[in-house]
């Protein structure tokens, strides 16, 4: 019996890898759907804030992530863009991360086609600009100075939806979808605190704990944390079988698998300790 616990304690990590892979693959192949229930989460706060904006509001979505965090953040981007389009708001896309501009373009253009929205009338992608927080401060005095053209080199003056927009005072909400720095914190500090612009956001699950401080102080109007946040938003918007909702099943099973590993590891540890073998 004692040998079993020693063997378990020294389990080959390749076995763990295979079991984790199976815990993700099987729910995907079997189309397992676990219904997502949205409670009193910060994701609901963001949804309700967007809902409460008057139609035609100007909303910045800052795509501050890259492909590595795309599985968590792209479903958020698509759900948020869909909600904004459905409520009749104007979307100004930009990115503090170089690769975020292309991912934002993908989210906005694919949904604008299906929802009958037009580029330059209902949405625009200004692209990536370097500078992070400093760039955001400069947006507070002149957005046109920072983005004389959009991502496709169309001049600001030729984009109808941007006429009448000078600086951050003309923006009703900023939503930063962020995988790190620069991202939500830069927007909160530079646009939210300095220019009093409401800030919402979406982030990876590992970043969410840090951002809860800004929710409590009401420096943020809402937050989508990880794939669960994206699934919540999809549920609230009414997207059936969205990417994030489908992702909840493999993630549920994987979390259970990791917890089982921790329990088994602890049982083996305590049994070995009982024998005086564990350190």
């Amino acid at each position: 019996m004692a040998d079993i616990f020693t063997k378990i304690g020294n389990l080959d990590r390749r076995i763990i890898f295979v079991l984790i892979a199976l815990s993700v693959i099987i729910p995907i192949l079997t189309d397992l759907i676990i219904p997502n229930i949205v409670g009193a989460e910060p994701s609901r706060d963001l949804f309700e804030f967007v809902d409460s904006l008057p139609p035609g509001s100007n909303v910045i979505i800052s795509f501050d992530y890259d492909p590595s965090t795309m599985p968590e953040l792209q479903p958020m981007a698509e759900a948020v863009v869909r909600h904004l389009f459905e409520k009749g708001h104007k979307i100004i896309g930009m990115a503090l991360w170089p690769q975020g501009a292309a991912l934002g373009q993908d989210a906005m253009s694919s949904l604008s086609d299906s929802l009958g929205k037009e580029q330059y009338q209902d949405w625009v992608n200004l692209g990536y600009k370097t500078g992070g927080g400093v760039m955001i401060v400069r947006l507070g005095t002149s957005m046109r100075a920072i983005f004389p053209t959009d991502r496709d080199n169309v001049p600001w003056s030729e984009i109808p939806m941007l006429q009448g927009i000078n600086n951050l005072d003309d923006i009703q909400l900023v939503i930063s979808l962020s995988a790190g720095d620069p991202g939500i914190i830069a927007w909160v500090m530079m646009a939210g605190d300095r220019y009093d612009i409401p800030i919402g956001g979406g982030c990876t699950a590992v970043s969410a704990p840090q951002l809860y401080t800004y929710l409590q102080t009401e420096q943020m109007v809402g937050l989508l944390g990880g794939l669960k946040g994206a699934a919540d938003y999809e549920t609230l918007v009414g997207i059936d079988n969205g990417q994030a909702i489908r992702g909840m099943s493999p993630q549920s099973v994987a979390h259970i698998a990791i917890m089982l590993f921790i329990i088994i590891g602890n049982v083996a540890y305590f049994m070995q300790k009982k024998r005086g073998g564990a350190r």
Partner: protein
């Protein structure tokens, strides 16, 4: 002079930005705007420096046949292909650059990050031990957050998501805030030391 000029530039730039924050009127507003634009230009220049450095490191690796040098040609070819396609065809949708980005770079980037799940599981199995009451508290919190972060948690017991929100909003926030306030005070202190020339390590060790 090698010391005085950089210190003078740092002092002047730092003071302009501080005055611009507290007195947002001319001439500080204009000077602040200009300095912010200079910062963005310098930061853009750093991108070229990074690209040049990438090529330098990988060409050197190939030339000296250092460990894993066989991957370096792939990096260089990929880098050059993307640069050439971006420069000659542009980066707009449905063009070669965008096609390669969405169909190669994006899936490969997502795949690399997803490997984290495997290492997290392996590390948790080996290192996450309830060896004392503090570790047990952390373990219990982790279980509640992991269950609350997925719908299966609410199916097991509908109070689990509420427990997760409470853990994140109260104990977590208290700890995070302490760290953030400490870090922010450190940033303010270091910035002031640099502006007033007390901290000079950024000059490359010159006294």
């Amino acid at each position: 002079m090698r010391l005085i000029i950089p210190l003078a530039i740092t002092f002047t730039s730092g003071m302009i930005m501080i005055l611009n924050f507290f007195i947002p009127h001319q001439p500080f507003a204009l000077l602040g705007d200009n300095l912010q634009e200079w910062y963005m230009i310098v930061a853009s220049g750093a991108i070229f420096l990074g690209a040049a450095n990438l090529l330098h490191v990988h060409f050197r690796k190939i030339r000296l046949k250092l460990k894993n040098w066989k991957y370096s040609p792939v990096t260089i070819v990929g880098f050059l292909v993307m640069i050439i396609l971006g420069l000659f065809y542009g980066v707009t949708e449905n063009l070669p650059f965008d096609y390669l980005f969405m169909n190669m770079v994006a899936p490969m980037g997502a795949t690399m990050f997803s490997l984290l799940a495997f290492f997290v599981a392996s590390a948790a199995f080996r290192a996450f031990r309830a060896s004392n009451w503090r570790a047990t508290l952390l373990l219990t919190s982790a279980f509640l957050v992991m269950l609350g972060q997925v719908p299966i948690g609410a199916m097991i017991w509908d109070k689990i998501p509420l427990a997760k929100v409470w853990l994140m909003a109260i104990p977590n926030t208290a700890g995070q805030r302490a760290v953030m306030i400490g870090a922010a005070m450190g940033v303010v202190a270091t910035s002031l030391r640099m502006i007033f020339g007390i901290e000079r390590s950024y000059l490359g060790g010159a006294d």
